[in-house]
């Protein structure tokens, strides 16, 4: 299958290992990967803060760029940015743009959902020694319905012991600009998550969004914890 990578600006600049890992895993399961260097940001920060004009301009740009590709799927190492593309339609009143947005959303997938539901693989041939737990990032979980896919992938990684957090589905408190508009609330939410992670006695917490991982990882290291924050693609990319 031919895949066009939607890298997301956050993975591009701050968590490139997730994007490199995604490319490696996609190739390993038999996909060919292309990357259009014109892509920048999907516009989610503007959309979520209320700046619809800016978000609309970026959405149009995104649609034009990815429409140009004849890849069968657009795949992203982020549930949140994938969900944003799925929201594009509501930014437009014009029927033509709405249709284009809907069509593009139809072939835009989050990495774990793409691997399990489109490619049909669970064992991607990875090896990773460690006790891990999964944090459900909100938009992947609730906007896209991704729950079992990352767990199925992680369980098939040789050497991984996967444990569940009692509050795996609770928000980590990131919420985009929420994390800096209301930092005390954001961190109070985060600390409940971190407490559970530490009680679970894991080597690393894994998630599908670099944004949550920045939030969780930033607090783990501030608290002097030995637990690491890893992207799903970081883990899946490891081979023996």
């Amino acid at each position: 299958m031919r895949v066009s990578l939607f890298v997301t600006c956050l993975a591009d600049q701050i968590w490139p290992s997730a994007a490199v890992g995604a490319v490696q895993v996609l190739r390993r399961v038999g996909c060919s990967v292309e990357f259009d260097e014109r892509q920048t940001c999907c516009g989610q920060p503007a959309f979520n803060t209320g700046y619809r004009r800016e978000a609309r301009a970026l959405a149009r740009r995104f649609i034009e760029i990815f429409e140009a590709s004849d890849a069968e799927a657009i795949v992203s190492p982020s549930g949140s940015c994938t969900a944003m593309v799925h929201h594009y339609e509501q930014l437009f009143e014009d029927a033509g743009w709405r249709e284009r947005a809907r069509a593009l959303a139809g072939r835009t997938h989050e990495l774990s959902a793409f691997l399990v539901n489109q490619v049909g693989v669970e064992d991607v041939g990875a090896t990773f020694a460690g006790r891990l737990t999964w944090h459900d990032a909100c938009h992947g979980l609730r906007d896209l319905g991704i729950k079992s896919e990352p767990r199925r992938l992680l369980r098939r990684v040789r050497g991984v012991e996967l444990v569940e957090l009692p509050n795996a589905e609770s928000c980590c408190g990131f919420g985009g600009t929420f994390s800096v508009k209301h930092p005390e609330v954001s961190v109070a939410m985060l600390d409940e998550k971190i407490d559970a992670i530490e009680r679970a006695g894991v080597d690393a917490v894994v998630s599908g969004d670099a944004s949550c991982l920045m939030q969780i990882g930033g607090r783990l290291s501030r608290r002097g914890s030995a637990v690491r924050a890893l992207h799903l693609a970081d883990v899946l990319a490891f081979t023996a």
Binding site: G50, D143, G173, F174, F178, V180, E184, M189, G217, G218
Partner: protein
């Protein structure tokens, strides 16, 4: 109190946070258990929402039908455009009956119109008879939850309050505290000339109102005094009596995790014969107070589908940390964050749509499937478009700059390269005070792609 100050006060209150964690977890768990007894929960949600959507599309028709049928059964129906009119109507009725005290059962609509203060100005003493509301009234506070008004109080705090205000011997036995409240309230029921209640549902085809409760106080409020005044938002009307079936499955389970509340009072008009029980007069006040404005567009209209169960508060991770008072609004939590700006005007509540991480837990638990995050986003766009609330010149500038850069891949690439070369970190003290900020990676993905990754696949 500003939202930020409210948040800080809440977060530094250890007792409050303990009470909140315990209560929201308990209600969340109970709800989960209660759902299991409904065969098709999703189907019930869909049906309830469809009924609400249909009602809201033809609200004028159903309100007129309800009014005609309620009046035929002996009730008087009053239409109140806003809070002031509603207070005036209720205050006048109570005053004309020579009321010195009125007993009240739980009603968030009465909180919304600040009825107690309006009655007090007329020299009429309002007595809250719901235990939680009674606690709040004794403490001189406001409800911090729409279903569990005293959720923020621990048992020890309530014991201390009762000792001080009711003069009982110190005890933190729940049964003893409840008995003390009951004893104090019985006397007030007997002397009140007027009873004021809220309404959970109003059935258009029969003119019936339904009140759900667990303590029996609403039944006393609506039957002992000679005059009963029921206050309801105009969105409480439903078309048919049979529609109650689905709403009664959803509301108690979502609210308190009960299969059914202990009491359900169905009231249709006044007593038929003099020897019947019940009040001589029933007045029903239909409150608009900003609601009809929400009918205009589907995205805002869905706010009126709310049946006030409070499940979104219990599920909200923000509410769980800060409780209801920090929001600084009558309706707190996720539903309050969408209702308040629409009821009182976005200018006066521009901070509320931002009091959420947009996690969507509220949407998952909502029994009538209100897409609260979508309404929050809609209201955020309104805040920016109408320049409501505080000045956001820096934020506006930053988002313009961000868009200008992101529209041009070369600008994006060079901006990031520059930041990397000069090791520029954004001055985000709001982030770095509590969290380490992950630095830019030494090389971006696109650089990795160009220098080898691209070719490896071929």
């Amino acid at each position: 109190m500003s939202f930020d100050r409210g948040v800080r006060a809440a977060l530094s209150d250890v007792q409050l946070r303990g009470a909140l964690r315990q209560a929201t977890t308990l209600f969340g768990d109970r709800r989960q258990t209660a759902l299991a007894s409904v065969r098709d929960w999703e189907g019930a949600r869909e049906r309830a929402r469809a009924i609400k959507d249909d009602t809201l599309l033809h609200l004028d028709h159903y309100l007129e039908q309800f009014t005609a049928n309620a009046e035929r059964a002996g009730a008087r129906v009053h239409w109140a455009r806003d809070a002031e009119e509603a207070c005036e109507i209720i205050g006048r009725i109570a005053a004309e009956r020579g009321a010195r005290t009125v007993v009240k059962s739980k009603s968030m609509a009465s909180e919304e119109i600040h009825l107690n203060a309006a009655l007090a100005r007329r020299g009429i003493e309002p007595i809250e008879t719901d235990l939680g509301e009674y606690i709040i009234q004794l403490a001189g506070e406001t409800p911090s939850h729409i279903v569990v008004p005293a959720i923020h109080k621990t048992r020890a705090q309530i014991a201390a309050l009762f000792t001080e205000k009711l003069g009982i011997a110190p005890s933190d036995d729940a049964a003893a505290l409840t008995a003390a409240a009951r004893q104090a309230l019985r006397r007030r029921f007997a002397e009140a000339e007027v009873g004021i209640s809220g309404v959970n549902f109003a059935v258009a085809e029969t003119g019936t109102i339904l009140i759900l409760e667990n303590e029996g106080n609403a039944r006393l409020t609506t039957s002992l005094p000679q005059t009963h005044i029921a206050l309801m938002g105009i969105e409480k009307v439903i078309p048919r009596f049979a529609d109650l079936e689905v709403f009664l499955q959803l509301l108690p389970r979502s609210g308190t995790g009960q299969v059914l509340t202990a009491y359900q009072s169905l009231l249709t008009g006044t007593k038929r014969r003099p020897e019947d029980e019940g009040p001589d007069e029933l007045h029903i006040v239909l409150l608009d107070n900003g609601r009809s404005r929400m009918l205009a567009a589907p995205v805002t209209r869905q706010s009126l589908a709310c049946i006030r169960c409070g499940a979104c508060l219990n599920a909200c991770p923000v509410y769980r940390q800060i409780g209801g008072h920090a929001y600084g609004a009558v309706y707190p939590g996720p539903i309050g964050a969408i209702l308040t700006p629409q009821l009182i005007g976005i200018e006066r509540a521009a901070h509320l749509p931002y009091a959420s991480s947009l996690c969507g837990a509220c949407r998952d638990v909502c029994p009538v499937k209100i897409d609260i995050p979508a309404v929050l986003l809609h209201l955020r766009a309104q805040v920016i478009e109408q320049r409501a609330g505080k000045g956001r010149w820096l934020e506006r500038f930053l988002f313009r700059a961000y868009a200008a850069v992101m529209m041009r891949p070369w600008a994006y690439e060079w901006a990031m390269r520059g930041a990397r070369a000069l090791r520029i970190m954004p001055p985000l003290r709001a982030w770095t005070k509590w969290r380490d900020l992950r630095p830019l990676a030494p090389r971006s993905f696109r650089e990795e792609w160009r220098t080898g990754l691209r070719g490896k696949g071929e």
